[in-house]
């Protein structure tokens, strides 16, 4: 097991290395001169020359990459062009809201989606199944921000239950935090929920056709026990895979949701950086999100042991 974990961890190094190459090349693949992008519109040729010298843009590309990578490995992601602050500090300041929003979203979505998917599979072909699946396809079809604004209008302005926008840190006030995070988490969770519910239903349908499920019914087990202990447990591996891969949807959704609800997180940081073409920040955010995504999916791969004792690492 430990050998396997270490082997898998080592295997992520070349992948993250390639991601780093992509992210580095982002700036250099651009049609313009990187110095011109960094300097902005009103730069003189003299400014550009200064920037090139300062950032070592006159050196060969691979030298620049190695120098960038060396600093990156020491935790130095460069300096924001807009604010002049170190990128790693900007990112670190914004981690908490995004992390908690993602966690809340996952908790809400998973606890709703799996029972709904099981229910749809159990009642396959009935109106219950059709209703759950229609809602799931609808979840894929509504853009996150349309849902977000609708919830703001309904839940905050209409009913007055929730604050309109903004964010309260969890340390300041837990209730304030919960009130601020509920609508964004629901907004962000719908697509994710749709994805997991569909996967749960599809896998459960397959498992429910297995002989051991028939045996379990035949020996007189209660339906609930058959569904949960015999069927769902065996369906968990593909479902957890989807939970992991679906995180990409959440990360994308965070960028939009944080804008709708004015949450000062990493998504908001990304949008601001895009509007200001603040390249070091964009690069840093992509690196952090990709690394998190890869590591979480590694964790999920390892969790299979937990659901299927036949899997041994």
């Amino acid at each position: 097991m430990y050998a396997y974990v270490i082997r898998r961890l080592l295997a992520t190094i070349p992948i993250m290395g390639l991601v780093a190459v992509f992210v580095f090349l982002l700036l250099h693949m651009s049609p313009g001169d990187p110095a011109a992008i960094i300097a902005g519109d009103n730069a003189t040729e003299e400014n550009l020359e200064q920037i090139r010298a300062l950032l070592g843009l006159n050196d060969p590309l691979h030298i620049q990459f190695l120098r960038w990578l060396e600093r990156l490995l020491q935790g130095d992601m460069g300096v924001s062009i807009y604010s002049g602050l170190p990128v790693e500090r900007l990112i670190w300041q914004r981690v908490e809201p995004t992390l908690l929003l993602t966690l809340m979203t996952m908790i809400i979505a998973i606890t709703l989606a799996i029972p709904l998917g099981v229910l749809a599979a159990w009642k396959v072909g009935t109106w219950v199944d059709r209703l759950v699946m229609t809602v799931a396809v609808l979840g894929f079809s509504v853009p996150v921000f349309v849902l977000g604004y609708t919830l703001v209008l309904g839940g905050s302005i209409g009913l007055g239950w929730f604050p309109v926008q903004g964010y309260t840190p969890i340390r300041e006030s837990f209730t304030g935090f919960l009130l601020h995070i509920t609508l964004p988490a629901l907004t962000l969770g719908l697509v994710y929920m749709a994805l997991i519910a569909r996967m749960t239903r599809a896998t459960m349908l397959e498992v429910l056709n297995e002989d051991y499920v028939r045996t379990a019914y035949a020996k007189g087990l209660a339906t609930r026990k058959v569904l949960i202990k015999h069927a769902l447990k065996n369906a968990m591996v593909p479902i957890t895979t989807t939970i992991g891969l679906g995180l990409a949807l959440i990360i994308g959704g965070v960028v939009v949701t944080e804008t709708v609800f004015s949450i000062p997180g990493l998504g908001r940081l990304t949008v601001d950086a895009v509007l200001r073409t603040d390249y070091p920040v964009i690069q840093g955010v992509i690196l952090v999100f990709s690394l998190t995504y890869v590591l979480l999916n590694l964790l999920i791969d390892l969790s299979y042991v937990f659901f299927d004792p036949r899997i041994r690492y």
Binding site: I15, P31, V137, L138, G252, V271
Partner: protein, 294 residues
């Protein structure tokens, strides 16, 4: 060994697949619904210039932020432009982006996947690249690319295509790997058929049915992602109406006139819903495993 007969990959198989798809279309009302709605949307969007609507770009500050009236079916935006006309015209860009991304990602991914699946040496290198590309969340990558290349419709299409390619490559490659050791492919190799011919004539036709299904989902996703890109300001340039950037402009005015976000959002959701139901129906029709269950 051959208790499970394997249909050899003759071109007739494609025709067969389409015939069974047409059959399914008649049997499956939701799929038909999807197709009808899509056709309607395409007609409304691409026909918009010929319906005698108000100019989608004409500003009329006197009538800004109006609710729906007889003159303006869906009301007006902050410059007094007719939302109805803008939403219909906006469909052109959204549909164009969706279809182009689906088509480009499928063809590029098909070519790479076929080669990677058949050559072990290429496979090792290409798949590492694909893994790395897939570990960057799709929207982030697309946002970064457009931010860098500048806002234009071709750039949006390209930026949304790149993150989708690895998924197609994986799908195609898995089919190729499965078929590579099948008797009919071995027979073709033994009888001296060139690799290119085997790939195109014998293997490629088998990748088409799952690819078509995948393409519909990519199309639906691209329509939504175009809206996300425009929404964060890295999408279609503001002078061209698209569902995404009409909604993006409505952001600051959503208290005064929610219609600016709601109406294009509604059109977008109906379209994406239609593409998805169509894709689901197509999958049921083309996936023999699903057929057996039903």
């Amino acid at each position: 060994m051959s208790d499970k007969p394997f249909t050899p990959s003759e071109p007739s198989r494609i025709a067969e697949a389409f015939a069974s798809a047409w059959d399914a279309l008649r049997r499956n009302p939701t799929m038909l619904f999807g197709l009808v709605v899509l056709t309607l949307m395409a007609f409304l969007s691409f026909g918009a210039p010929y319906f005698g609507l108000l100019d989608p770009l004409r500003q009329n500050p006197m009538d800004r932020l109006q609710d729906p009236t007889l003159q303006y079916f869906l009301g007006t935006d902050m410059y007094g432009r007719d939302l109805f006309s803008r939403v219909l015209h906006g469909g052109q860009i959204s549909l164009l982006v969706g279809l182009s991304v689906a088509f480009l990602a499928t063809t590029i991914g098909l070519a790479i996947g076929l080669i990677a699946g058949f050559s072990r040496r290429v496979d090792a290198v290409v798949m590492r690249f694909m893994d790395a590309l897939m570990s960057i969340p799709a929207i982030l990558l697309a946002i970064a690319l457009v931010a860098l290349w500048g806002s234009s419709v071709p750039n949006v299409i390209l930026a949304l295509t790149i993150p989708e390619v690895p998924r197609v490559v994986r799908l195609v490659r898995s089919v190729v790997l499965m078929l590579r050791d099948q008797t009919f492919v071995q027979a073709a190799i033994a009888s001296g058929t060139s690799t290119a011919r085997i790939l195109v004539r014998h293997i490629m036709p088998n990748t088409i049915p799952p690819l078509i299904v995948q393409a519909t989902y990519m199309c639906a996703q691209a329509v939504i992602f175009e809206a996300y890109l425009s929404f964060v300001g890295a999408g279609t340039p503001p002078e061209i109406p698209s569902w995404g950037n009409i909604m993006a402009e409505g952001r600051s005015y959503f208290f005064q006139n929610f219609g600016i976000i709601m109406f294009p959002g509604l059109f977008l959701a109906i379209t994406v819903f239609a593409i998805n139901t169509f894709g689901d129906g197509l999958r049921d029709a083309l996936d023999p495993r699903m057929q057996r269950r039903v």
